[in-house]
């Protein structure tokens, strides 16, 4: 049952990713794709928060599975990030590719730590 709810939450997350990515790319005036970075950074912020808050209040388990593995796992994506970096490399834009991939990792780690801290201090 938890697995089914996790999968359905992942479906919702995927649709959210599509909406956010489409919205961000519509407003993006640069030639570097930004939608996936925004999606992944917000996913890491919220997952950090959920992880810390859940372990401080009601333990991990079902909530962690449905929200963490399901909703946020389906919302965030790794494969699109790889393909976007590859696209920049194929255009000869090595620096943009490195900044895109490395920057995403750094921003997302920062966002998750921020979420972990917030989840631990909020009563």
């Amino acid at each position: 049952m938890i697995l089914v709810l996790t999968a359905l939450a992942g479906g919702l997350g995927g649709a959210l990713r599509f909406l956010v990515d489409t919205g961000v790319q519509r407003g993006n005036r640069t030639s570097v794709p930004l939608g996936t970075i925004i999606v992944n950074a917000t996913a890491c912020l919220v997952l950090g928060f959920v992880t810390a808050y859940a372990s401080a209040h009601f333990g991990s388990g079902d909530v962690r599975s449905i929200l963490g593995v399901g909703l946020l796992g389906g919302y965030s994506t790794f494969s699109t990030a790889s393909v976007e970096a590859l696209g920049l490399l194929r255009k000869g834009r090595w620096l943009a590719a490195i900044v895109h991939a490395g920057g995403m990792l750094v921003v997302c780690i920062g966002a998750s730590v921020l979420g972990l801290v917030a989840g631990a201090v909020i009563p």
Binding site: F78, S79, L86
Partner: protein
């Protein structure tokens, strides 16, 4: 297809991708101090699959109609929902928190580099198969 329909298509695909990922994570659990093999394999395999799919669709024509439906349902939906960045990053946090800073850095960098390499191999394999078919005179249909 209208925007809401496309969003539902992505949702259906991401449900399948998440079910696959959650099942693999359940079957191959890891402790916070270990290399997260399940997520690692999921992300590299997913990058390969998406690289291959996007290349195959791009070689067949512009991103409209059936090709767009396939890209969104299978690419953005199934493969996008299968791979994950949030779990990947929290695993890096957990490795660092477990005193495995070097493993945390290696896990992050190796995943990202191999992800791009896998996407390139997927795209290259499709492009060379497509090229062979063209050379054999079978056309692109």
């Amino acid at each position: 297809m209208r925007f809401v329909g496309l969003a539902l298509l992505v949702a259906a695909g991401a449900t399948v991708g998440t079910l696959l990922r959650a099942s693999i994570e359940l079957a191959f659990p890891h402790t916070p101090g270990e290399w997260p093999w399940a997520t690692f394999a999921i992300n590299v395999v997913g990058s390969f699959a998406l690289g291959a799919l996007i290349e195959a669709l791009a070689l067949r024509g512009p991103d409209t109609g059936r090709r767009r439906t396939l890209r969104l349902g299978v690419g953005t939906g199934v493969v996008g929902g299968f791979t994950t960045y949030s779990t990947f990053v929290v695993e890096i946090d957990q490795l660092a928190g477990a005193g495995q800073a070097a493993v945390a850095v290696a896990y992050g960098l190796v995943s990202i580099v191999l992800g791009v390499v896998a996407a390139a191999i997927g795209a290259g394999a499709v492009a060379s198969a497509f090229g062979r078919r063209e050379a054999d005179g079978q056309g692109a249909a």
